[in-house]
């Protein structure tokens, strides 16, 4: 059991930590939440049927923890869009400045919309899967995605960035 658990941690640590990091943009808090979620998994290991099940379980658990964190208003990411270095000119694929700028813009979205975007572009989930993870109507997920992309496009255009 211990060996299985250690293997599950190693296989999923990046996914769980990244979800928390992209959502909170605070390394110590992201690590703390990620550790809490793995500890919960350890306590519920008996109910886990497969590696895929564990992966799904961890994804749902970290999303809920992150959303709870902002619902309780204990933590809001420091977005600091004004302080972000601005990319200039047409975006190159993999441009680190643009990537940082986009990360900050996603972090500036409201809690549920931010999580929908992270699940879509970090986890590569389709809207139906996102709806299942967040226990949210499919139409709401689609609407969050649509509005968030529009907002990002608008902000990039205003900054004169072609993406």
């Amino acid at each position: 059991m211990e060996a299985d658990f250690a293997e599950l941690v190693r296989a999923n640590e990046s996914q769980v930590y990244s979800l928390a990091w992209h959502y909170l943009r605070n390394r110590p808090r992201a690590e703390e939440l990620a550790q809490d979620v793995f500890l919960d998994l350890y306590r519920n290991l008996g109910a886990i049927q497969s590696e895929d099940h564990a992966r799904h379980w961890l994804r749902v658990a970290i999303c809920r923890r992150c959303l709870d964190e902002t619902r309780r208003r204990r933590f809001e990411p420091v977005n600091g869009l004004d302080h972000a270095p601005e990319p200039a000119g047409p975006a190159e694929p993999g441009d680190p400045l643009l990537a940082d700028f986009l990360e900050r813009m996603v972090a500036s979205l409201g809690g549920p919309a931010r999580m929908v975007m992270i699940l879509r572009y970090q986890e590569d989930l389709d809207p139906a899967d996102i709806a299942a993870v967040l226990d949210m109507p499919l139409a709401t997920v689609k609407s969050h995605l649509h509005r968030s992309l529009e907002k990002l496009r608008e902000k990039l255009t205003r900054k004169g960035v072609k993406a």
Binding site: V9, Y17, V106, L156, A163
Partner: protein, 98 residues
């Protein structure tokens, strides 16, 4: 997929967990197990002590009740003996007079 979505996928790509993350998680599970290993027997011992205390209290109360009942029974018996004795003495006095 358009350019913006490609850029978003790149910007939100998974990040590696901080170095030593897995070790720290495993250490926390060990600490949790140790705490459970201490608290479960401690809670069981505390439960036994409390139960023992309750049983003892109940036994003491029962003993007190039994003692009270015994004393009442002895008082009643003493009264009856005293009544019988006085009756015998009265009968003996009558016989001596006759």
């Amino acid at each position: 997929m358009n350019d913006l979505e490609r850029q978003l996928r790149h910007a939100l790509r998974p990040k590696p967990a901080p170095p030593g993350f897995a070790v720290r998680v495993l250490e926390r599970t060990v600490r949790t197990r140790r705490r459970a290993a201490f608290w479960i027997p401690a809670a069981a011992a505390a439960g036994l002590l409390i139960t023992g205390g309750i049983v003892h209290q109940r036994d003491v109360a029962r003993g007190e009740e039994a003692k009270r009942q015994l004393l009442t029974a002895l008082e009643i018996t003493a009264e009856k003996i005293h009544f019988a004795e006085s009756k015998v003495r009265r009968l003996e006095a009558l016989e001596q007079r006759q």
